[in-house]
């Protein structure tokens, strides 16, 4: 009897990505919830603050970013918890594929299902704040670079809180402070554009952050999962 097993990074990535995507497609409740939360909260602010256009334009980028951040956070507790509970995580850890492959695949699927829809919807929601067209574009660009960082950071925090009692609260304490730099540079890019400055510094910093996060965090997730399963 020979081991016919062949593991590879792309194999694990594709496996996790397609599986998580299929599960979310079958059971879209959670994704819809995240998007609905984002739309609702981002629409509440103009209603609450009033229709003074200068004020709305001023707070718009920051509010959209905070809403996106909280919406992305909503989906984090479930990222590894269901796989942990039903034994899938053990099977994945013992799979022939390198761990970092399927971990990256899961993070990518998470971004496609949360970060991407938030990015696509953000210009529409920002219209309520009367932002200029160029500011809308910069806001969407900043979200496109920033939300993958949120997924990566969130995955690490989610894996660290696996199996911990009161995991949800702990996750908030762990993840939200880590999101702060992303929020500052993300909202800062759109604000710079709105006040006539170049947003390239903030966007470059976000891009650098994304590169560092992509290199470092999947490996951290792997370690955290090993600890959780031990």
């Amino acid at each position: 009897m020979s081991a016919a097993a062949l593991g590879s990074y792309p194999g694990g990535f594709a496996w996790a990505f397609s599986r998580d995507f299929r599960i979310a497609w079958r059971n879209p409740g959670e994704t819809v919830l995240v998007i609905a939360f984002f739309v609702l909260v981002a629409s509440l602010f103009p209603l609450g603050v009033g229709a003074e256009s200068r004020l709305l334009e001023r707070i718009g980028p920051g509010v959209i970013w905070v809403c996106a951040l909280l919406a992305a956070f909503l989906s984090l507790p479930q990222m590894f918890a269901t796989d942990y509970a039903d034994g899938s995580l053990e099977q994945m850890t013992l799979s022939a594929h390198p761990m970092i492959g399927w971990v990256s695949g899961k993070i990518a699927a998470h971004w496609i299902m949360t970060g991407l829809p938030l990015t696509v919807l953000s210009p529409l929601l920002a219209l309520q704040y009367g932002l200029q067209a160029d500011t809308l574009l910069v806001l969407a660009a900043a979200l496109a670079i920033g939300t993958p960082i949120l997924s990566l950071l969130g995955a690490a925090c989610s894996a660290l809180t696996l199996g911990a009692r009161g995991g949800g609260m702990l996750l908030a304490l762990l993840a939200l402070p880590l999101f702060v730099p992303v929020l500052i540079f993300g909202a800062g890019a759109a604000e710079a554009q709105a006040s006539g400055l170049s947003p390239s510094a903030q966007l470059s910093l976000l891009g650098a952050g994304l590169i560092v996060a992509t290199m470092a965090l999947p490996a951290a997730v792997c370690v955290a999962i090993r600890i959780a399963l031990d």
Partner: protein
């Protein structure tokens, strides 16, 4: 001849020392039964063998080399834990495909259908797992054992929720596995045919 060996394994959970200085060896064509009362550490021992839990002391050797996190061992191992890793939202066939693909084994739709037919799930193969009974979920795991050619099985109570016919099915799979030169470490309370080469009693 391939061999799986444990030398001087010890593991504790919190303040409780579950086992100390546990050693065993199985070679191709043998299986070893783990017995012991509830809480005696059967599951933990299996997890140590699989490499999920780090033992306090001791080594696990596969073909004479430390198993640890080695890729060679991971590719050779089929682990079945308490929770079977079945996703409610996927159909029986998709669950099987996912479990098999995770092991890097290629199995086309035809092979999966044959395996599911063997475990009695052919008619239910396009039904989401949320509608399957506990025993039927277990049977997806049996179909996986039928397709996976891994030479090492580490199984934790594989007969839970299975009926008599399911037990015979598992026994026939185990017979094939052993006859094909595989080794197995199985924690179980049931007497199984073929009989184990040895019994390892924990917590004595």
């Amino acid at each position: 001849m391939r061999s799986l060996e444990a030398r001087g394994l010890a593991c504790s959970r919190g303040p409780v020392t579950l086992f100390r200085d546990v050693s065993f060896a199985v070679v191709s064509g043998e299986w070893i039964a783990l017995r012991g009362a509830n809480g005696s550490g059967k599951t933990t021992l299996l997890r140590c063998v699989a490499g999920l839990t780090r033992p306090d002391a001791g080594d696990v050797l596969w073909d004479g080399e430390p198993a640890g996190h080695s890729e060679h061992f991971r590719e050779s191992l089929c682990y079945g834990g308490h929770a079977a890793g079945i996703k409610d939202d996927l159909t029986a066939d998709e669950n099987l495909a996912a479990l098999i693909a995770l092991r890097g084994v290629a199995a086309d739709a035809q092979a999966r259908r044959a395996a599911l037919a063997r475990v009695g799930l052919e008619k239910r193969r396009h039904l989401q797992a949320r509608w399957l009974s506990a025993g039927q979920r277990r049977r997806i795991g049996l179909a996986r054992l039928a397709l996976d050619r891994a030479p090492v099985w580490a199984l934790d109570e594989p007969l839970t929720a299975l009926d008599d016919e399911g037990q015979r099915l598992f026994e026939s799979l185990l017979t094939e596995h052993i006859a094909g030169g595989g080794v197995a470490v199985i924690a179980t309370h049931h007497p199984l045919a073929p009989a184990p080469a040895r019994e390892l009693r924990l917590g004595a």
